[in-house]
C-alpha cells in the first residue's frame, strides 16, 4: 500500500500533471471566490477538455480545481457575507461577524488553516478508508439516512439561542426551512406543491439564490445604513493583522477542528446527503462547545470556533465523497456525479479495480487534494493582507460591486429572472429575521435536509413499514438525536447548579 501511495505522489509530481493541477487551481480559485458559479457546474464545463489527457493529469486538473473552491468560497463568505459557494454559507455566521468586528485577518487565517486541516483529514480518510468503505456504506440504508437527517435537524437545538423562547424560535425557523424545501413537484405522486402555477418553481427552489439572498441582502442593507466600511471605522493596519492568530486558533481548538473534519468526511461518504449538509452539522457541533450562556451568545457574533467548524468540514467532505465514487461508482455529491463522467471518459471503471489495478491513480487523487489545498492556502496567505483590507473599503464603493456579484451569482443557477426574484424575496425574509432576532442557521438546516428527510422517510415506510424503527443503527441514531437536543438544556442546568 505504501508503495502505491508513493507511486501516486510520483505520478502527480510529473510536470504535465502538476501543470494541469496548477491550471485547475487557478480556475478553482476564481470559481470559489465568485458567488453562484459553483464547483459542480464548472466541473461539467471542463469535462470536454480531458478527452486527450492521461487519467492522472485529468484528475489533477479536475480535482485540483474542485478541491480549492470550498477554500476560496470561504474567503468571500468571511469578507462580504456573501456565500462564495453553497457549501461555504455557514462560514458567514461567525466569519463575517468577525470581519465586522475588525478581525477579518484573524477570521481568514482561521478559515484557511482549518480548511487545510479539513482537506488533510479528508484525504487521509480517502487513503485509509478505501478498503473498509463497502460495509460502511452498505450499512446505511434509507432508514439510517433518514435518521441521519433527523440528527442533523436536532442540531437546531444548539443553533438556537438559549432558553425556551430561543428554542421555539429555532425550531420554527427550521420548520419554515422544511416547508420551503417542499416547493416543487414531489417525487412520490408527481403533485406540484406550492408552485402557484409558476414554471420556475416546478423543480423546487435552488439553494444558491436562497442562501445568497438570506445572508447577503441583510448585510448589504446594514452596511448601507451604517455608511461606513465593513469593519466600521477601524484603521486598516489593524484589520489585516491577526492572520497568525487565526492559525493559532486552529491549533488552540485543534480537537474541535479534527472532530468537525471527521463530521464532514462522514457526511461526504454517505451518498445521498449532498454537499451542503456537512458545514451546518459541523457548525452545530462547534456551537455545542460553548460552555456558558455568554459564550453561547458569542456564536453568530464572531466566535472563531464558528469559523473553524464549517471551514474544516466543507473541505474534508471532498475526500469523503470521493470514497463511494471511487469504490462503488456511486457519487457522494453532484460534483462527484460529474467527476464520475470523467472516469467514464478516461475508460476507468470505478469499483474494485480502482483499489487494486489502479490503486496508484486513486492515491494520486489523494495527493492532488493535499497538494492543491497546500498551494491554495499558501498563496492565500501571501495575499491575505490585501484581502482583509477590503473590509476597510468604504461601503458606498463596495456595495455596488457586491450587489453585482450577488445578482450575477444567483442568476447563474438557472439563467432565469426567477433567480433574482427568489434572491430578493429571501433577502427580505432574511432581513426580517435579523431584525426580529430569529436565527437563520436553523432555517437553512431545515432547507438542506428537508428533501432528504422526506424521501428517505417515504422509502423507509414504503419498503419496511414500521419495522425500520427497530434496526440497530436507527436506534443508535435516535439516541444520538435525543442527546443532541437535550445537551444544551443539560448544560444550562449544570451551569445553574454551579452558580
Amino acid at each position: 500500500m505504501s508503495e502505491a501511495l508513493l507511486e501516486g505522489l510520483v505520478l502527480v509530481l510529473q510536470w504535465k500533471a502538476l501543470a494541469f493541477m496548477m491550471l485547475g487551481i487557478v480556475l478553482g480559485f476564481w470559481v470559489g471566490l465568485l458567488p453562484g458559479l459553483g464547483g459542480a457546474t464548472t466541473l461539467a464545463l471542463m469535462l470536454p477538455f480531458i478527452y486527450n489527457m492521461q487519467p492522472v493529469e485529468a484528475f489533477a486538473f479536475l480535482l485540483g480545481m474542485h478541491a480549492v473552491t470550498a477554500t476560496t468560497g470561504d474567503i468571500t463568505s468571511v469578507l462580504f457575507g456573501v456565500p462564495g459557494e453553497a457549501a461555504s454559507a455557514a462560514t458567514i455566521l461567525d466569519g463575517h461577524a468577525m470581519a465586522k468586528n475588525g478581525e477579518a485577518g484573524r477570521a481568514l487565517g482561521a478559515v484557511l488553516a482549518s480548511s487545510l486541516v479539513g482537506a488533510l483529514v479528508g484525504a487521509a480518510a480517502l487513503a485509509l478508508a478505501v478498503p473498509v468503505v463497502r460495509p460502511l456504506v452498505l450499512t446505511f440504508g434509507s432508514p439510517e439516512l433518514f435518521m441521519l437527517a433527523i440528527v442533523g435537524l436536532a442540531f437546531i437545538a444548539s443553533l438556537s439561542s438559549h432558553g425556551g423562547r430561543g428554542l421555539v424560535r429555532g425550531f420554527l425557523a427550521g420548520l419554515l426551512g422544511l416547508l420551503v424545501s417542499t416547493v416543487g413537484q414531489d417525487p412520490q405522486a408527481g403533485v406540484a406543491r406550492y408552485t402557484f402555477d409558476s414554471l420556475y418553481l416546478w423543480q423546487g427552489l435552488d439553494l444558491v439564490p436562497i442562501l445568497v439572498g438570506i445572508f447577503a441582502i441583510p448585510e448589504i442593507i446594514e452596511l448601507a445604513a451604517r455608511g461606513t466600511s465593513i469593519a466600521g471605522s477601524l484603521p486598516a493596519g489593524r484589520i489585516s493583522r491577526g492572520a497568525l492568530e487565526g492559525v493559532k486558533d486552529t491549533f488552540r481548538h485543534f480537537w474541535l477542528t479534527i472532530r468537525c473534519s471527521l463530521i464532514g468526511t462522514f457526511i461526504g461518504i454517505m451518498p445521498g446527503l449532498g454537499g451542503s449538509v456537512a458545514q451546518w452539522m459541523a457548525y452545530g457541533h462547534a456551537a455545542q462547545s460553548a460552555r456558558t450562556a455568554e459564550e453561547r451568545k458569542r456564536f453568530g457574533a464572531g466566535d472563531v470556533r464558528g469559523v473553524l467548524g464549517p471551514g474544516a468540514a466543507n473541505n474534508s467532505k471532498e475526500g469523503g465523497s470521493l470514497i463511494p465514487t471511487v469504490a462503488f461508482g456511486v457519487p457522494g455529491s453532484t460534483a462527484m456525479a460529474i467527476l464520475l463522467g470523467g472516469f467514464v471518459l478516461l475508460g476507468l471503471v470505478p469499483g474494485p479495480d480502482m483499489l487494486s489495478k489502479h490503486l496508484s491513480v486513486t492515491y494520486s487523487m489523494v495527493w492532488t487534494i493535499v497538494l492543491a489545498n497546500v498551494v491554495t492556502v499558501v498563496v492565500c496567505f501571501l495575499f491575505l493582507d490585501q484581502l482583509a483590507r477590503l473590509t476597510g473599503v468604504r461601503g458606498s464603493i463596495l456595495i455596488p460591486l457586491i450587489l453585482v456579484l450577488v445578482f450575477v451569482g444567483s442568476y447563474t443557477s438557472n439563467n432565469h429572472y426567477g433567480d433574482m426574484v427568489a434572491t430578493l424575496a429571501f433577502g427580505a425574509i432574511g432581513y426580517l429575521m435579523v431584525l426580529a432576532g430569529w436565527p437563520r442557521a436553523p432555517f437553512v438546516l431545515g432547507l438542506v435536509l428537508g428533501k432528504i428527510a422526506e424521501n428517505y422517510l417515504y422509502i423507509s415506510i414504503a419498503r419496511y413499514e414500521a419495522a425500520w424503527l427497530t434496526r440497530p443503527v436507527v436506534l443508535v441514531l435516535i439516541v444520538i438525536a435525543i442527546a443532541v437536543i437535550i445537551y444544551p438544556l443539560f448544560q444550562a442546568r449544570r451551569k445553574a447548579a454551579h452558580a
Binding site: 469535462l47 478527452y51 414554471l199 416546478w202 467514464v344 422509502i459
Partner: protein, 332 residues
Amino acid sequence: MKCKLMSLGLAALLPLAAAAQPNFSGKTVTIIVGYKAGGGYDATARLLARHLPKHIPGKPTVIVQNMPGANSIIAANHIYNVAKPDGLTIGTFNRNLPIAQLTKVEGVKFDITKFQWVGSAANESTILAIRTDLPYKTFDELRKAKQTVVIGSTGPGANTHDFPLLLKELLGLNFKIVSGYSSSADIMLAVERKEVDGRAGSYTSLRPFIDRGLVRPIVRARSTEPGIDKLPADEDAAPNARAKAIMALRSAPEQVARPYVLPPATPAEIVKVMRDAFAKAIQDPELDAEGKKAKLDLEYLPGDQAQKILVQVLQQPQDIVAEFSKYIKFGE
C-alpha cells in the same frame, strides 16, 4: 394570440430569408439545453457543439446554453415563442415533452409537432433488471412470482418509474414500487444492500451492473439495441390492444430520445442545412470516437421521421389518453 400574430409576422418575412443561400460564416449558433450542465442531454449537446461547426456552411461557432427548469418546458416555450427563426438557435429538451402536451400539462405553450425538427441524436432502450440472486431468471418466471418484488424508482415521469408501473398495472406483475431515490445511482446502491430487488432504466446506465453480475436484464420496452434485442418486449405480453397502445405510447418518445428542434417559422433551407449537418456530424468518426469514450452512443433519426412518431403520439383516441393519464405523469 400574441404568439400567433408573431409567427404570422415572421411568416411574412419568409420569402426574404429564403432568397439568400444560408451561410453561417462568422455567426454563433446556440444550442439551448433544457437542463443544467452535467446530465446526458447536456453532454450530448456539448459533444455535438464540438463537431457541428465543420459540417455547417461558413463554419460558425457553436455554443451550448443551459436553460433549466420545469423539466424543459421553459426551454421549449422559449424556442417556440421567443427565439428567432434564423437557424442560430437550436433547442434540445426532455424527450417526454410530447407526453406533457398530450396530458395537457399546465404551462405548455408549444405544439411539439410544429417545431422544425432537425431530428434526434440518439434513441434510448429502457429495460428492467433484477438482482441475480433472486430465483427469477426469465420474464415468465418473474410474472409468476409469488413474493412481491420491490422496485426502486426516482419518481413519476422517469423511465425508472413509469416502465415498471405499467408492467405492474397492465400485466399484473407482483411489484412494489418504492419511489424517491435521488438518482439511478442511488437506486443501484439500494440494490446492492438489498433494500430493493431491481430497477428499470436505460440499458446504457444498467450495463456496467449487468456485466458485473449484480443484476440480470429481464424485459425491455419497444426501442432496442444490440445486446438486449433477444429480451422479451413488454408490449408482446399485453393482454389486449388497449394495454398495448398504452405501453407503446409510453415508449414512443424513447425513439426520439435526444430531440433537436428549430423554431416553427424557420425557413426550409436552414432546416435542410441543419439536418444535413447533424447527419454528417453524427457519422463523423471523430465524434464517434469521442462519443464511445463518453459512453454516448449517437444515432441520427432524421427530423421528418421524428416528427412522424410524435404526430402519432398526439393522435391517440381520447379514451386511450384518459387511461394513459391515470398511470403516467409528466416529469423529469
